[in-house]
Amino acid sequence: MRFNPGFFLKEALKNIRLNLLMSVTAVTTTFVCILVLGTAILVSGHIEGIIGSVRQDVSVEAFFAPDATQERIDEARREVEGYPEVSEVTYISQAQALADFKDTFRDNPEIYQDLGSDVLPASLAIQIEDPSDAEAVAGKLKSAGFSEENLSYPQQTIERLNSVTSYMIWGLRAATALFLISSILLISMTIRLSIFARRQEIEVMKLVGASDGFVRTPFVFEGLLQGLVGATFAALLVVWFNYLFVDWAGTALPFWPISSSAVNAFFVVVVLVAVGAVIGVLGSFLSVTRFLRV
């Protein structure tokens, strides 16, 4: 059989026009499903973004003994910077520590009035990539010569935060997957319904000698077009929502770590349009196949 995309595309467009109500229903269903799915991806992207930035704030502090030499400090700092779990190391000198302290209590100068510049110890503030590594890093610091009391790491807080946030992330992913599955079901049901209404047409085509592929191709093109149109509108709307939300959060929720980088708009559009197109194609393909056994 010759494959003539022009012929099949023309057939598909004609069928869409002639079955306009069914086509509009299929496009609308796709649109709504993809919109909900896109919103779920958006929400979960932003919540993961917030969780990510909260986790990033987890740090371990290692204090030096008052008599630590500069050599000892430099050596310790170099070693800690070499740990693979560590993302950033900041050295806080005694003077810096006092300055920070004064800054914190600037409204009550009597608290620090009598403090000498060498009372507060120098320390390393160590940012950790993954909070679950905090204990491992603390262990390494101990073998590097820091005693337990010279280390400050909020071990329990980290553990709790870690388990709560991973539950949240998995919950969000499960919800998104659920939306995806219901979209697939709903869209393919609509397609199946519209093809069911035309099963006699399919039967006639088969009886006058059309091959399965010849009957199926215009339907698949139709599904592809419907999926693309519905999903594209939904995806653009989702991205627009995202833009509005990030913009609004910037002024209304200034201390929330919400940024446009939490959701990759291009990626979202590509995924949503692809999902719409694939469901449209597969849905039509499978539905037509059911009626080809004539």
Partner: protein, 228 residues
């Protein structure tokens, strides 16, 4: 060309549509299939198209046993058999011309060939004015003629017509029958299932009579009923 070998067809468990039918139709023959309503004529037609399978026995078309044809080769069989269906089976979303053209498109014929051939054939069945009408805009007889045009537009080796004149006035009926005869004369095997007594009697062709699913008569140059 077509051979029924002891064919029985049951619908469900106990509706016997055809019973032990033996029938041989030779290449180039013109055969009338007559019988009362419900005698099994359409069932016989559907078996030849492999639309349904026999319950017992074997059917051969062009020496190929139908039960041995794999599903993917069924379209090839049907392109060799033009069929006028009792209920027309036109595609509702296509115009008369597109319906006729579809039978050429499934065989992969060139657009240009379709554009020249379709109007000629529609003219032959007297529908040149109706080319761009949809089936719902056509009368029963007009739809039937579109169905006739579609059945032989791709010049099949076998032409089957199930009640091709059922909805036509006598004059148009004669026209269609003459057309079928002309198609037969160029070598096409023609099988016509019909109730049309006058037509059968006038044409003096081979007549196969069915009664309750059995072949009760098979006469060369026969008539609709036994001659008194």
């Amino acid at each position: 060309m077509i051979r029924f070998d002891n064919v029985t067809k049951l619908y469900g468990r106990d509706t016997v549509a055809l019973e032990r039918v033996n029938l041989e139709i030779n290449p180039g023959e013109f055969v009338f299939l007559v019988g009362a309503s419900g005698s099994g004529k359409s069932t016989l037609v559907r078996l030849i198209l492999k639309e349904i399978e026999p319950s017992r026995g074997a059917i051969y078309v062009k020496d190929t046993r139908l039960s041995s044809i794999p599903r993917r080769h069924i379209p090839r069989l049907r392109r060799d058999i033009g069929c006028v269906f009792q209920d027309f089976k036109l595609l509702p979303n296509k115009t008369a011309a597109e319906n006729v053209g579809y039978a050429m498109e499934v065989t992969g014929q060139k657009r240009r060939a379709i554009r020249t051939k379709v109007p000629q054939i529609l003219d032959l069945v007297g529908l040149s004015e109706m080319m761009d009408k949809y089936p719902r805009e056509l009368s029963g007889g007009e739809q039937q003629r579109v169905s006739v045009a579609r059945a032989f537009v791709s010049q099949p080796r076998i032409l089957i017509a199930d009640e091709p004149t059922g909805n036509l006035d006598p004059e148009t009926s004669v026209g269609i029958m003459n057309l079928l005869e002309r198609i037969n004369r160029i070598g096409t095997t023609v099988l016509v299932a019909t109730h049309d007594r006058d037509m059968v009697d006038a044409m003096r062709k081979r007549v196969v009579a069915l009664e309750n699913g059995r072949v009760v008569r098979d006469m060369v140059k026969g008539a609709y009923a036994d001659e008194v």
